[in-house]
Amino acid sequence: MHEIPRTVLFPLRVFGLDLSVTNEVVLLWLAGAATVAVALPGCRRRGPLQAVFEALLEFTTRQLAPAGGGAGARFLAPFLVTLFFFVLFSNLLSVVPVPAFFKAATANVNVTAALAVLVFVLSQILDFRHNGVRGYFRKFCPGDTPVWASVFLFPIELISRLARPFSLAFRLFANMFAGHAVLLLFLTLLAGARLLLAPFPLVAAAAMMFFEIAVCFLQAFVFTILAALYLREALEPGHGG
């Protein structure tokens, strides 16, 4: 429907896969570069910029702390913070008003699916390594569930686990895509409006823009906090049995 087109800058086919460099690919690179740029001052010698970065880091880890685990999960903090900033910048780049190039890279379900799969694979690997194969399957049926209940519980638990990366991917994608589609709708209304009627779609579009920016932050936060929750749950040992 209403969507900023995906312009191919540099066609590239690798082994029959279409890996063309599109504007979305460039936007993802920019988001990555921005994430690194935010982190670099923190790695240098102590100074004002480094303090700013530490404050940023502190703030983010404090926000994520309720979902992430205790001391055992501290090693995940860099991953989660990187994830947060990457998703945040990917979302925010959609605000730049260069025509026909800048859009939210995360408004593409492939991008969000890739991130969700990353979190999912990481959580499963951590689960196996931390709990062992037996522990992994033990967690499907917690505590003293009778055998007959386990027969029901196992598929339900399996489906619920598999549904998580889907919902993670879809939530971010739908929020970004829908937000920008509505915004483009308002702008289309504005483009066709008579002079006297013009203020209405204009105000609506401006208000929508503010809301969109808030949604960018919120969705980045929600993605990361859910990732933290899933990862913590993967690291948890199963309850007794």
């Binding site: 429907m1 969507e3 926000q63 309720p66 919902s167 879809f170 939530r171 739908a174 929020n175 895509f177 829908a178 589609a181 919120l218 969705q219 936060f221 929600v222 906090i225």
Partner: protein, 76 residues
Amino acid sequence: MEPEGIAWLSAGLCMGLAVIGAGYGIGRLVAAALDAVARQPEAQGGIQRLMLLGVAFVEALCLYALVIAYMLVGKE
């Protein structure tokens, strides 16, 4: 009625119904959060965070319906 008409109609119905549920859910969430903050103003930060998390879940459900509506209308 031709199928395209039915598609548009059902897309509108889909979104309308979904937003009813989402609106009610988010309203209840925010009301609960306000109650909690009223009882304990110093917990506002944590409560606000939890509320936003809950709102994101409910909103996601509504957005699933939006995508179905888009698919019904036939483009994207």
